[in-house]
Amino acid sequence: MTGLSCFHCGLTIAKNEEIDFDEKKFCCAGCKTVYEIFSSNDLTSYYEFEKSPGATPQDIAGKYDFLENDSILSKLLEFHEGNTAIVSLNIPHIHCSSCIWILENLNRLQTGISTSQVNFHEKKVRITYNSDIVSLKEIVYLLSSIGYEPYISLENYGESKTKIDRSLTYKLGVAFFCFGNIMLLSFPEYFEMKEFWLDSYKPFFRFLIFVLALPSFLYSASGYYVSAYHSIKTKMLNIDIPIALGIIVMFIRSTYDMLMDHGPGFFDSLASLVFFMLLGKMFQTKTYSFLSFERDFKSYFPIAVTKINKDNSEENAAIYDISKGDRLLIRNQELIPVDGILISESAEIDYSFVTGEAVPITKKSGDKVFAGGKQIGRVIEMEVLHSVSQSYLTQLWSNEIFQKKVKQKHKTITDAISRYFTPILLLIAFAGFGYWILIDANTAFNVFTAVLIVACPCALALTAPFTFGNILRILGKKKFYLKNAVVIEQLAKVNTIVFDKTGTITTNKKSNITYEGKSISDGDILVIKNVLRASNHPLSRMLYDFLPETKRIKIEDFQEITGKGILAIVDQKEVKIGSGQFVDDIKSDNFEIEKTALHIKIDGVYIGKYVFQNQYRDGLEELFRTLSKDYNIKVLSGDNDGERVNLETILPKGTELIFNQKPEQKLEYIKKLQEQGQNVMMVGDGLNDAGALAQSDVGISISENVNVFSPACDAILDANEFSRLNYFLRLSHKAIFIIKMSFGLSLLYNVVGLAFAVTGNLLPLVAAIIMPLSTITIVSFVTLMSNYFSNSNLK
């Protein structure tokens, strides 16, 4: 290894392959071309913001021909009138300031583009262009040629512009406005100065405070009234009941006090309470706009496919228009969108999106091919059996689990507490009222309202949002992205963990390669490595990377036979690399359990074979050992049980292994476990796990590249962090522990406040101090504790 890295993309340059150009070094011709495009357009500033920001452009010939189809085009464009068109494209490669710069300078590369604007978090670029001068297809080709290939999927088809809900921001803004102004105007009251001129303006100040409190009371806090109403209707006492009750009582009592000239009322406390609680809500909703937790097959499937008409002409047709009996053309790297029968002689189909299995499956003419596979190699033809919605894989989404929107599957910890809190609070309020009514009716009324005001569980309600919000951010930094805060609570309740096998506990990035056969000479390795160099088959690439670095030698003849192997001539010797049957007519005795292997024959002599085995993720054994102490662990796999023996040695004893599971069976299995009262966490990766992920209490999807693929789930875990799963689970337990502790703390505040209230001593000033004080202590307590636990070694 020379250790040189490419000037454009930053990848290490393989020995003997570096390209020198303009005193810079590049790893491949693609990177060099991008540099040429930029330098000839005076755009080399691209390389100044960030070191090696680029990506190698991919070959996309023919891939975007469907953009010429007007009906498809109109579904993709955000706006099109006259010759002005606007399109929003999702570009997964956006990752640094250089990306923003080059994408916002697209107009220098292509005439007709007027402006382009990047949204970094959503990884999107919004391009306004003149459709008379340039077409969307040309723009997409331009983007691809500079390494920013957009990701266009069926999801974009007729995508209605989703309205962003900004109501929380408005409510928070209103609450803050009211809170700030009321605080300023209340200042004279706090000091209770018996100054003549201050006294004479009292009614004016109080009137202003009252007016300012109205928006906060009526608009900002409205969510709490609605929620409290729903909770009473469904007879589920949640935390919003005492909150809404406290706010309403506070408002009525303050208005009464003010009108009767008893005092300034509690408007300041009311405004601060509403503000802090909305702030907590805001803090809790941490969203990862570049991730999507709601993906279904639509985000994997292409928008259009090439259809072959009866008269052999080709046409781009939208996926939804494909019907039974149509003939389709699938190119290299294109996804098969529907089930069908292969017409071409043979095909190599990569089902890694579906199953997580990286090694492609060979199909012969007449075989059934299922939707979701990706064709590798030559162009193939197929005949459609089912339309897209009725295909084997997509049918999974017709299961009811995807139809019903489960609003809340369980009670949150805050609601569990408030089930006891609310009745006790009412009891104290009425007891206080009952005691004082015998002494003084006026005090009795004051005590009753003061109890409800001071007990308004502001701190209690803030505990969970701030703890979860903070934990959510901590986990996000550690590359474990949760859909929302509720997932943390669900994580802490899990007692059974179900793992998918392929792609989840195994990695498809590298394989465990072993050699079986005669001893192999260095000369042979040299020949094998050089023959493999030219092949793009995944197995060849893996073996190529596995073999030691060698010199380059000349290959005289090279031929790749789809589904069979490579035939090459080196030094007048014939080299055959490929399947057993192809290389040496070896008939495997048992077709089912045949291991994936590459056989080698040089100059008519059979040398041996390289066997590929599943490579389990690093730290798997350790992870399973620690997890098995506290959880039931099960492994579900869609594959045959060829790996059973191997898995049993790695996994702790008693781990249940279930093989040959179809997507629906996985879903049913999870359902069965739940019916037995288990809280199930499913860890999966491919589309075939989508049903199980949706059914489970917590569905975690493992992703090698979080920006691109993951089925609908509750959380997305970066594959490199897989071995820390136990740590994440521990942290969720700690989060619940922190919440319980701070519940204790906030109840303490409530007791102190109640002591003031029941004795009839709650002055507005006391309330104005207790409420912010409790809020601040609670917020800092939970923040400090969650940071402490996240840094401590959780074993």
């Binding site: 080399t44 949204n119 970094f120 978090h121 921001t169 202003l208």
Partner: protein, 63 residues
Amino acid sequence: MSVIYLLISVSIFVAVCFFIAFIVAVKSGQYDDDYTPSVRILFDDETKINPQNNNSQIEEKQV
């Protein structure tokens, strides 16, 4: 009428103006993307003309 009524009314009015400005800003989507504009502002308006540009094209022909 004392001046304090006027002063306080004016101050509240100014506050309300700022508040309306905030609402308008939120509505126009200014707060939807809080990262990209912070990077964008640092870019130079005029891109530097690369003096080596002509050389590189000569080299290109040699390659």
